[in-house]
């Protein structure tokens, strides 16, 4: 009774991907792949996703530490708040970012007035939108690793004279490294595929804010074959991420 729906489910997941490969215009793939637009979108995507991941690491690891170790009231509530972007429709995230960081936004107006900085519809805006959507992946992964790590190692470091910061750098962080790496890869993959928040907050300007997913969407209207090629590139990157994570994440700890 279970085998039939199981096979149907498997087919449901795999057939569209196979269709992508079957319908690909293989004759023109190399030409399109190395065309200027694809190269530009791919480069922009990789750069923005990587920068967003760096932002997530810098802000997300301390946040995960605070959630896992901090002695603060309402920690469970705070943890729930952090995961909101995970379930929020990304386009809503984009609207929210516009309201806060837009040129007339709550914070954006001061950024513009004092520093002349305007984030929306710029490459920096892409990074902000991607980081907003992807950060929960990193925080959840790192926080889980921190909570699984034995805090008594930190006590041992303290009895050896290590300050909190030294303990964090030399003892805590190395022990949660697998969680950090897994979180960073998931975060990067999510940032790479980000569409809704990006197009809402950063718009769609080729060479500046048109990342791969946006390019796929654009191409679908004008040039469906190009959309397929771009999609295959993203599919390969995703499969690559999965393969890279296989040992650390899917197969459990080694």
């Amino acid at each position: 009774m279970l085998v039939v729906p199981a096979l149907l489910g498997l087919a449901f997941l795999l057939v569209p991907l196979a269709g992508l490969l079957i319908r690909a215009p293989w004759a023109t793939v190399p030409d399109r792949l190395f065309s200027a637009e694809v190269g530009e979108a791919l480069r922009l995507s990789l750069v923005c996703a990587s920068l967003a991941t760096v932002v997530c690491l810098v802000l997300g690891i301390p946040l995960a530490w605070l959630l896992a170790r901090g002695d603060l009231p309402g920690r469970g509530f705070l943890r729930a708040l952090v995961t909101v972007p995970l379930v929020l429709p990304p386009v809503v995230g984009g609207v929210a970012l516009l309201l806060v960081l837009g040129r007339r936004g709550l914070i954006g107006q001061y950024l513009d007035a004092w520093f002349g900085v305007s984030l929306p519809f710029t490459t920096a805006g892409v990074v902000v939108a991607e980081a907003f959507v992807a950060m929960p992946f990193l925080v959840i992964s790192v926080e889980g690793a921190l909570r699984a790590a034995d805090p008594r190692y930190e006590e041992a470091a303290a009895t050896l004279g290590a300050s909190r910061w030294l303990t964090f750098r030399r003892v805590t962080l190395p022990s949660v490294m697998p969680g950090v790496v897994a979180g960073a890869v998931l975060c990067w993959a999510r940032a790479l595929g980000e569409f809704g928040a990006t197009i809402t907050f950063a718009g769609n300007f080729p060479g500046e804010t048109t990342t791969m997913p946006l390019a796929v969407y654009l191409a679908l209207e004008t040039e469906p074959d190009a959309a397929i090629v771009l999609s295959i590139v993203l599919l390969l990157v995703s499969v690559g991420v999965l393969a890279g994570l296989r040992d650390r994440w899917i197969g459990g700890p080694t």
Binding site: A158, T159, G161, A162
Partner: protein
């Protein structure tokens, strides 16, 4: 130069009220059952747990005096050996030992050189670049000891340092630990639930039960005059130091015992009071050890009677009430003590 501590910790329904003074070079063992508050006391001394009241002082330096003073663990001159060692898994043995020196500001080269010396002292110079998971239990224990001692602490704290070891490793590691503790000029507090560890390693015992000290004093003193049944059961152990040659052990304070396992050099020999039998006449037959003793005291316990006997060596014997009735003895009477060689455990000292 003394550690003074009035440890008062209240947590949930548990109260610790323990006074402790440790002289330089002295090894004090906190001995008691699990849950008695020994580890809580150790954590308070280490600065991992603030006192609710009381104080901890080294000489005139206060470490913890609520509500005014609390020196956190990283600023106390301490070394801690944890029960399961807590060696940092991603660092080598050498880096583990160097960690405390680096944290206290030593340069990389200096720290590594000193750490190397310490590994050498605990006999692990060959394992400097080994990761903790590849070390045996005994080796890990020695790395943990080297790591705790490398920073030159004033107060060394040992939490069940031998509990994680198997029986055979335990003997050699205990003897080594004893030598390192004898060389250590600072103050040592040892927490254990094993009376033998406490009696072999410590200069003074503090028996802890339900968060309070029920008795303290030198090990031999506590064993001779246990104040409660609990203490009598706990430290009811005949323990001697002697020199072994084959199966004969010449005891330091007089007397010779024949043991089953041949040994050589300085050893501890131990046997429970229940292994000693008492006879009105010299016994014939299998016991290898028989000697004449004089009854000095008879004490009733819940299920047995403990007889304190003077002789070479003096000995404690547990006999049943029925045997006591048969023997019909009182203080001053002469008896023969008999003890099978197989009942005696020998430990390297």
């Amino acid at each position: 130069m003394t550690v003074h501590a009035e440890l008062r910790v209240t947590r949930d329904r548990f109260r610790l009220e323990l006074d402790l003074n440790v002289a330089p070079g002295e090894v004090v063992a906190l001995l008691g059952p699990n849950g008695a508050g020994k580890t809580t006391a150790l954590r308070a001394l280490a600065g991992l747990l603030p006192l609710s009241a009381g104080h901890i002082r080294l000489d005139d330096q206060p470490w913890d005096e609520p509500p005014k003073v609390f020196v956190p663990a990283e600023r106390r001159p301490i070394g801690v050996v944890f029960q399961d060692y807590l060696l940092f898994g991603h660092l080598t043995a050498l880096e583990n030992v160097a960690f405390g020196l680096r944290a206290r500001g030593a340069h990389r080269g200096t720290a590594r050189a000193l750490a190397g010396d310490w590994l050498d002292r605990v006999g692990l110079a060959d394992h400097a670049h080994t990761k903790p998971r590849e070390l045996s239990g005994g080796q890990a224990q020695r790395v943990a000891l080297a790591r705790a001692l490398a920073t030159g602490p004033r107060l060394l704290l040992l939490d069940e340092p031998l509990a994680a070891l198997d029986a055979s490793t335990r003997l050699t590691v205990r003897a080594e630990l004893g030598r390192h503790l004898a060389d250590f000029p600072g103050h040592t507090v040892l927490v254990t639930h094993d009376p033998l560890d406490a009696m072999v390693l410590a200069d003074r015992l503090v028996i802890v039960e339900h968060g309070r000290a029920v008795q303290h004093g030198p090990p031999a003193e506590v064993a001779r005059h246990p104040r409660t049944d609990y203490v009598a059961d706990l430290v009811g152990l005949n323990l001697y130091r002697g020199t072994a040659a084959g199966t004969a052990v010449t005891l330091a304070d007089g007397g010779v015992l024949t043991v089953a396992e041949p040994a050589s050099g300085t050893v501890h020999v131990a046997f429970p009071p229940s292994a000693v039998s008492l006879h009105p006449e010299p016994p014939s037959g299998s016991p290898r050890n028989t000697w004449q003793v004089i009854v000095t005291d008879i004490e009733q316990h819940a299920h047995t009677t403990r007889v304190r006997l003077d002789g070479t060596p003096p000995v404690l014997a547990d006999i049943t009430t029925a045997t006591l009735a048969d023997l019909r003895v009182g203080p001053g009477d002469a008896l023969w003590a008999a003890l099978k060689a197989t009942e005696i455990r020998t430990y390297p000292a």
